[in-house]
């Protein structure tokens, strides 16, 4: 068991991050080095400045809000939630002053961020069971959502235990120790990480997160990087032309 924990918490994490960063970089380089589309792919009427509208399309999803308002609510909750969770994880490496503009206790969100993301994921998953999204979906779409749900639920359990059930064995310091040891390539697994009541949750959380990271560069999750350039095309950006 100890070995298994070790494999998941140390070498697999390295492999997962390696695949994630290198895979994503290689795939993005490959895509962006393709010849540019020679003509405009714009939808009219035009609105200026184009870059501002492209940003708005990418981050505010106005077309979803207009046509599927309920989906929009969950999509925004999910994406903002993910962003907050990423910030929360960065704070598990060390202190970032910039994140403390709004003073909070690590892990941020008092447990509610994880809860909201979990509920959003369930919505996103269950809506795929209904026609016509059901017919449109491919296994990848379900795998990603299930994987994300498992990651978030096991991750959040730890936070919830601490916040809501007065579980005392968990402490940010231990995570900072573990994660920064990984970062400095001198892996260390404190006793509190591997041998306490919540350890199996952590191991499962990390295990599924590893799987997700390794699948990410090869999946539709790449939309996180491609959405903005695509929206720029729709707003009328043409390579080699002045785009205002």
């Amino acid at each position: 068991m100890e070995t298994l924990y070790y494999i998941i918490l140390v070498p697999m994490v390295y492999v997962a991050f390696g695949v994630f960063f290198i895979g994503t970089a290689i795939r993005l380089i490959k895509i962006f080095r393709e010849p540019k589309h020679p003509t405009t792919l714009q939808i009219f009427p035009e609105k200026k400045p184009k870059w501002l509208w492209a940003l708005s399309d990418t981050f505010l999803l106005p077309t979803v809000r207009k046509h599927k308002p309920v989906l929009w609510v969950f999509l925004i909750l999910f994406h903002v939630g993910i962003l907050l969770l990423i910030i929360g994880h960065l704070e598990l490496f060390g202190e970032f002053e910039i994140f403390q503009i709004i003073p909070h206790e690590v892990f941020l969100g008092k447990g509610f961020v994880g809860l909201i993301v979990s509920i959003s994921l369930l919505y996103l998953l269950f809506r795929r069971f209904k026609s016509p999204v059901r017919e449109l979906s491919v296994p990848e779409d379900y795998y990603l959502l299930v994987l994300l749900f498992l990651i978030v639920i096991f991750g959040s359990q730890m936070d919830w235990a601490r916040r809501w059930y007065e579980y005392g064995e968990l402490d940010v310091e231990h995570y900072r120790m573990y994660l920064s040891s990984l970062l400095h390539f001198q892996p260390e697994l404190p006793y509190e990480i591997t041998d306490t009541g919540h350890s199996f949750m952590l191991v499962l959380h990390v295990f599924f997160a590893n799987l997700f990271l390794m699948f990410f560069p090869f999946s539709q999750s790449m939309h996180s990087f491609l959405s903005l350039p695509m929206n720029k095309l729709r707003r009328g950006f043409v390579y080699g032309q002045e785009n205002t």
Partner: protein, 417 residues
Amino acid sequence: MDKKTRDDLLKLFQSKLNEAMRFYLETCTRCGVCTEACHVHASMGQVRYIAAYRSEIVRRLYKKYFKGRGKFWPSVGEAKELSEIALDELFDAAYSCTGCRRCMVYCPFGIDTQQLMSIAKLLLIGANTEPEILTLLADTSIEKGKSLELFKEGFLEGIKRLEADVLEKWQTEAGTTAIPVDVEGADLLYVALAGAHSIIPAAAVFNAAGENWALSFFEAVNFGAFVGDPTKTKLILDRIVNEAKRLKIKEVCICECGTAYRVMKQLAGKQPFKVSAITEVHARYLKEGRIKVDKSKLNGAVTYHDPCQIARNAGVIDEPRYILQHLTDNFRELTDDPRYNWCCGGGGGLVAMGEDTLDFRMKSSKVKVDQVKATGANILATACENCHTQLSNLNDHYDMGVNVQFLSSLVADALVR
């Protein structure tokens, strides 16, 4: 399908993979927001007419042959082998899509289904399973460009015979040619279609505006674009570009044909002339006071169908409305937002395929009929030959009781001194 055929087809697929195409192929999350976007789905209900589903037909092949995943784990994305069955599916997807790009308005990423369908169309050409008639039409256009001298005389004679009709609409001063052709140094080259209806009213308006113009030898429409053949599209386009350069033209004006306008405007690249739609030119004449029109010529309520390739996809939106303000006091919009206008259902080569597609075109455009009916207008104007044919077919089929008109004809008929 043998290996050689498949490899050749995959080479064609590869040739379409530029950056934008990769974006479109990698990104879809199958969220289903595009469900309500397609007029075919809205009219007929089948899931296979949802934009994301059409795109997935192409994307499945991409996942099989152009992603590492296709070898290791094809089932995760339902990657699919390129087979005869796959070709049938590609045909069904590509030739039930009019390339109107209404779905692109819905998609949170802005995936261009028309672009993805162009892959399908190219593969069908490679497999010799594209609609034969479209290729024949494209080849005919190219042939015309090659052997212009052979047809020139007959064409000029035919044009001469139209002049009386032009003068009937607008009497020019004695000594001027009603339909000038092959005029070096003309300011404007008008590229029409084969039909007299595309030449006579336009000529009358040019003459009324005192334009220094010439009629092109060639027809504007680009069948190469319909069938999705990039090489032929370019050859057909080049005929006009070369003619315009030879005559030192300042402005190429495209007749009421959506495909022709979009291809010329967006594909011609940097040229010494500017490209306009006839709608833009007419609006300009009105603005500059070069022509005057009489509102009393039009009776009843008028609505205007924005041709997808001219409005949503090329931005000529305000000009037709400006013209209509001068033609009537009773104008009614089809939609509050021109991006959401329903396609007529005839684009992408469907109308050019004639009666073979008639049944499908009628069934798939029910929503267009409802949209027109809701305005209560009795005159339905448009600025595209394709749309005009399709809307006229719909008018007959659904007994809509509207009068389908070309906007340019309305202008010509309302001309006053």
